[in-house]
Subunit: 344 residues, 2 copies
DNA sequence: CTGAAAGCGCTTACAG
DNA sequence: CTGAAAGCGCTTACAG
């Protein structure tokens, strides 16, 4: 209760309970090897004094920071989804008794310096990587020096294997399934709206290929267009090009929720009704998906599972498990009222 | 280069340089009191070995965790803006040589337990609070036990003073100015779309009152409606009510970017042109603002300044500076092409 | 200006 | 089952 109240220490608990400091430590870290009577005595002393071990002291002794590093992506506003992800990740890390250490890093190799410093100072025990891009240099760099990490997203190396453990959501499968189910609902002209070609890589390309494969399998020849920016407006223009076609699509699969909302607005502006005249789907199940009228049909990422798997992979030193591909679940809403029963 | 390469320690640097460990410490922490020759010698040893002091050991000795705690708000997707804020905050904290420690907490008093534990374990030195709500219990609780913190947002206590240091953006002034400038642009019927009454508090109420005051000052009697949910759809319905009025508004001030985008979509659906037939403004300058066609006129929060001020307040033990009210800047875009020259 | 000593608050083998 | 000893890697006064 005093200003910055002198924290209670192990020593005080020991004195209070009339045992050695050693024993107090055992009560906390290895209670099974402590006599029940002693245990109770020490525990009530801990209770009475409100003792909690100092993380710092413990870290020094155990050589474990108890902190997992996570780099916040550059300014522009990384995907809306990352918000949810970060929350789930923080919870998953906390479940293992550790905490998340947030940091920022400049782009380019400078960024690696930040990772290096964090390791050199032993500030973190491991890293979680996200916002993974094609040929991401971080993975190989970290793996090369034996730093523990797990990546949300693949680096899609042109050759060789994915360096280090990763978790990803199968965008290919999800988009292919979207096509299958739209087809089953009667659609024959199913288009795709993707990110601009320059950023059409990694997850974006994976989703595109899934849509393509879905169409091919059914003998459909849909058209794919690309938004010139990662914005609703860019997607609206892309959708306009699609809808101006003499044979316009009756369904549009968008690579993200944000783009899907842009597509929706173009559909509405033309007096067309989403979910009736034109069906529209997104990806991520971000807050936008429940924010539009009727709701946006989208692919929900298994966020909690992604997070807990990442944390598990970090501790799995062995190369037994190198990658985990999770399944996204289609959530049907008004913008594309897919038959629930047909859901596999 | 070895697996989990044994980190270099002070002792090794001392041996390498042929001085005591003490002197190495001085080179790092008080170089001015070290002989230039020794300094150079030690520094080159540090360089050669790639030494960096262990944060944990240093923390134990200095009794400073070097970590600032920040609680991630509950799931639903706190404001889009919080993303930008978190990034800026992390950078500001890093500039003082510390890092951000992220954590989650259940709602209610349970949440306070998490804060208490973090302090008891001396895991963090201080907290940054955000997502502040009316009568937020955290502030008083922390202040009461002498825990350092700074709050983004006021708690709007019904009586008494704001407990502890805070930083906020003057939503009242920004919305009043919006009204003034819309009026100067010729608008006479300026409406407001706010958050549902249940959440109409804190920042939301502040902005509403600013709009009211702006109207009153000019003798305007605008209508305020509330979205029944924090969604584009809710805002679209609210806007519909407004536009169905026999004397519909020619300008609509929305309490957030998300609601503004909902308003925009309703405007467009009616074949009205934003920025021509109806002017629309938002708040936050989130990524949505540049994502809609023509862009959304909005109020930009001085994010970097908010963040750096918070960090400064944390270290200012003295009660000299209790609160800082910053000014939001109106960013004019297509949805409400306010005269740039008129900007004060 | 430099170094020997004590200490930060724990944990980890290791005796007893 | 319990305790005395050593150590984690630094910093902080304090002699010299």
């Amino acid at each position: 209760m005093t200003e910055r109240g002198q924290a209670v220490t192990l020593r005080q608990v020991a004195a209070h309970a009339g045992v050695s400091r050693q024993t107090v430590s055992n009560v906390i870290n290895a209670p099974q090897r402590v006599d029940p009577v002693t245990l109770a005595k020490v525990r009530s002393a801990i209770e009475a004094l409100g003792y909690q071990p100092s993380r710092t002291a413990r870290s020094l002794a155990t050589r474990q920071a108890g902190l997992i590093g996570y780099c916040l992506a550059g300014l522009p506003g990384h995907s809306l989804y990352m918000d949810q992800f970060l929350h789930a990740l923080t919870e998953a890390v906390e479940e293992t008794g550790r905490h998340m250490l947030l940091f920022t890093a400049p782009d380019g190799d400078q960024g690696l310096t930040t990772y290096a410093n964090l390791i050199a100072q032993r500030t973190v025990d491991a890293f979680i990587l996200s916002d993974t891009v094609d040929e991401d240099p971080r993975h190989e760099w970290l793996a090369g020096r034996g730093v523990r990490f797990a990546s949300f997203g693949r680096t899609w190396p042109r050759q060789g294997e994915q360096p280090g453990p990763w978790v990803d959501v199968d965008g290919f499968a999800a988009c292919a399934e979207l096509v299958t189910r739209l087809h089953a609902a009667g659609h024959r002209r199913i288009a795709f709206v993707g990110w601009g070609k320059r950023v059409m890589m990694g997850a974006g390309a994976d989703r595109l290929r899934g849509w393509e494969a879905g169409c091919r399998r059914l003998g459909l020849s849909g058209r794919a267009v690309y938004s010139d920016s990662d914005s609703m407006d860019g997607a609206a223009h892309a959708a306009a090009a699609l809808l101006d076609d003499p044979e316009p699509p009756t369904a549009i699969v968008a690579v993200s929720d944000l783009l899907a909302v842009g597509v929706l607005s173009e559909v509405r502006r033309r007096g067309l009704r989403p979910g009736h005249d034109v069906w529209v789907t997104g990806f991520d199940d971000s807050l936008l998906a429940t924010s539009v009228e009727g709701g946006l049909t989208t692919v929900r990422q298994p966020t909690a599972e992604i997070a807990s798997t990442l944390v598990r992979l970090i501790d799995n030193a062995g190369p037994a498990e190198t990658g985990v591909l999770l399944t996204g679940r289609i959530v049907a809403r008004g913008s594309a009222p897919l038959d629930q029963l047909q859901q596999r």
